[in-house]
Assembly symmetry: C2
Homo-oligomer: 284 residues x 2
């Protein structure tokens, strides 16, 4: 039964670095029966400052490697690669499900926003490229999208300073202006939905929630991407049908550079410790 064979294959997850491990974590929570191969192109990050041609070339190299590992689907956990390289990847691997982070996040934001006023936070590059803005307006032309770069959140997440006074003050400084006037005023709130448009930002979920308040819907693109992956695999009858994989065997970690840093920083993003020996260094 070839169908059974394919559904037993691992899911490939690709990112420019360790940020995509938050997407992998959401995928593993939602799809506990699946095996995964994660590839972080740590030697060549960041993608956000590179030309579109270069990002497409790098993303195809990473996808080639993951397809060579026999994956049944590709999750592009990198915002830049999702914005720029998804069509090229779908063309190259016709028939293989390819899921990016931008479309699921935009879709969820439009579904959940009552007012159509949607705030998007991301890296400078993501905000400048405007992929979330375009994807949201394509689904709801009257949406008002306010996009703000929160560059310090990346450094805070990588440093592991995701709670406490520094993270709180940074969240306050970036986000309070977006959601000011929410309480005790007559005018409508500036935004009722906040999209976390960077793989690092779910790490700061608690301090972000504390600033924006309970009424604002927070769209975590890691979680929405995991949901979109599950839906697509179910539609194509590709969900693994076996028993829950043992944690060790269920995951391979590939990186193009700096296994020690990948292990140290990645552990926080993945939510479990990573042994340096577990990270396979590869060339692309």
């Amino acid at each position: 039964m070839p169908d059974t064979d394919v559904s037993a294959r691992p899911i490939g997850v690709f990112d420019s670095g360790v940020g995509g491990l938050t997407v992998l974590r959401a995928l593993r929570t939602r799809l506990a029966r699946e095996r995964f191969v994660y590839l972080g192109d740590t030697a060549r990050l960041p993608y956000g400052t590179k030309s579109a041609d270069t990002v497409v070339r790098y993303a195809l190299q990473a996808a080639d490697r993951l397809v060579g590992c026999g994956v049944k689907a590709l999750v592009v956990a990198c915002n830049t690669a999702s914005s720029v390289a998804l069509p090229a990847m779908s063309r190259r691997f016709a028939g293989l499900p390819v899921i990016g982070v931008v479309e699921p996040g935009a879709q969820a934001a439009v579904a959940v926003s009552a007012s159509g006023r949607i705030a998007v936070i991301g890296t400078e590059a993501t905000v400048r490229q405007g992929a979330y803005q375009h994807a949201i307006v394509a689904r709801r032309p009257d949406a008002q999208v306010l996009a703000v770069a929160c560059q310090l959140f990346v450094a805070l997440a990588e440093e592991g300073w995701t709670e406490g006074p520094i993270a709180q003050a940074a969240a306050q400084r970036y986000l309070a202006p977006l959601f000011a006037g929410r309480d005790g005023r007559d005018e409508p709130p500036p935004a009722d939905t906040l999209v976390l448009g960077c793989t690092h930002f779910p790490m700061l979920g608690a301090v972000i929630r504390a600033v924006v308040g309970a009424q604002v819907a927070i769209v975590d693109s890691a979680e929405t991407t995991a949901r979109a992956t599950e839906t697509l695999l179910r539609e194509r009858a590709l969900l693994a049908s076996g028993s829950v994989s043992p944690a060790g065997a269920a995951l391979r970690l590939l990186a193009t550079d700096a296994g020690a840093r990948f292990a140290a920083v990645g552990a926080r993003f993945l939510g479990r410790s990573i042994a340096v020996t577990e990270v396979e260094l590869i060339d692309l």
Copy 2:
């Protein structure tokens, strides 16, 4: 008189991004008669995560371009390139003065430290490479060097959040452990000297000083590099002898990517506004 001709040429300053503009600023303050060409390899930053071979290749390409602009000396304002590529650059351009940021900083730290207990802060890559540590111990074998990566300082400097509660709290968190026990205790201070081993960190000089206290000597590698450049140019009779250059004509800015970001972030580092049209986009 060929000597006169050479001394009238500009000084080339090279960095992987905008951080080196703090070095350029110190150079312009100290050497007001000089003209400068600054090259920021913004398309390919960061260098700190790349292999030594690649950093040498990139640094030589940048140096070729600056030598093509007719510079009389090369200042390597990038910590990684200073650590890795200085010998290759000196070989390639025999006779041309080449000054890095690491040696002047290490030299100043050893000269100023009474106890030999010296703290060095830098990026993760700089701390891991250990160039400051080696350069200090080479000059003073009994020195005790404590190196700490202060990654968030880079993001704070680029965001322009160089004062206020967030910068203060970050400085406190990174630096207080290094200088704890300084006041009101009998034991000697853990370090009497702090080297700012990253071009971004002079931007945070005030909050750093507030945490470490007035007794600790702070070695700003931008300032020490400017002084070393002046000394070397004087020794070789290459100091410009003309009148002070008008500010506009005295500086050319070259970048390999993102002129708008270079102008916006760079203005804070250089200490004067930069017009986007002033940044010449180049390929290396």
